[in-house]
């Protein structure tokens, strides 16, 4: 499988190459969030058959959140894998997502009028880094939730990113313990 590296803005959900199957034909991530039932029912029967029910039912876990509103997100990450993964995770939670692979494209996208409820932005980015991109996005009046999601881990980096305007500094990986409360807040769920 080859990943195409975009050099500029990616403005649609269907940025994955044809060979990847994460998206359906119309660009929606293939996860049904309507299944708020404990989904152990299908698996449990087979899992518990045979010898002695050692298998666990699929637990009603921390990643069970059903969004009531249409939420949009932008992922800004220079690493293909991380970008597509974060996009995939957000789509699995039911958000509509776009992604770009550099800070300059992110700023341009916002400048062109695109609005997002949530932005995930890495610190080290090609062309324009995450700190400066964040600064410029905030300067344009974007008040949306911005999470700095980065492999950087120093206190200095944390302060710099927060000072530039991210609401939270998240050391990769972005896990549900951070994401779900954010989504609940954005969705107006108490």
């Amino acid at each position: 499988m080859t990943l195409s590296r975009e050099s500029h803005t990616s403005t649609s959900n269907s940025i994955l190459p044809q060979s990847a199957n994460l998206l359906t034909e119309n660009g929606k991530f293939k996860k049904s969030m309507a299944s708020a039932l404990p989904s152990g029912d299908q698996g449990a029967a087979e899992a518990n058959s045979g010898n002695g029910g050692q298998m666990q039912k699929k637990p009603f876990t921390f990643n069970e959140i059903v969004l009531r509103n249409r939420l949009t997100a932008l992922v800004v990450d220079g690493d293909n894998f991380c970008r597509l993964l974060e996009q995939g995770i957000l789509q699995a939670y039911g958000l509509e997502t776009q992604s770009v692979n550099n800070g300059d494209a992110a700023v341009e996208l916002i400048a062109s009028g695109a609005k997002f409820d949530l932005i995930l932005i890495d610190m080290l980015l090609p062309i324009l880094d995450g700190v400066e991109a964040t600064r410029r996005i905030r300067a344009m009046g974007m008040r949306c939730k911005m999470l700095g999601v980065t492999a950087c881990s120093g206190e200095r980096e944390r302060q710099a990113f927060l000072a530039a305007g991210v609401d939270m500094f998240v050391e990769k990986p972005l896990g549900p313990e951070i994401l779900i409360p954010v989504l609940r807040e954005l969705d107006g769920q108490v």
């Binding site: 080859t2 996860k31 989904s39 045979g50 298998m55 220079g78 690493d79 995939g88 080290l124």
Partner: protein
Amino acid sequence: MEVGQMQRRLVDYTKTLFMEGFLDAQFLQLQQLQDESNPDFVVEVVSLFFDDSEKLLNDLSMALDQPNVDFKKVDAHVHQLKGSSSSIGAQRVKNACIAFRNFCEEQNIDATLRCLQQVKHEYYLVKNKLETLLRLEQQIVAAGGSIPTIEMGF
């Protein structure tokens, strides 16, 4: 082998990977995003990780093979690999990257070359483990069973 046995084998294998530190909780979280409407999420994500990592390892080898090594460039590649390996839950690769970055800061050629070998070693180990794990899952699905979920608190 019947489905129940296959499932137990998968659970045991997965637990071993956790206990040996190859995978951490992040991988479990990714698995939980996979369901019947999205049955290939994990295998797709893992494939992406392989592609991405192998490119990074190639870039790293080239960067360290230069007469005048650009340690900033090396560090940038390692940083990316740290990010992606932590995002998929490949804990030992991530830890190897952390050590690698320390030596990049020191601009220590010999140490960084050793680190590269270490990272490659850890990467190929986890790649092998993940391929085995995915194969076990595929066998279960092919036999009509479902993939059991691992509880986090084992």
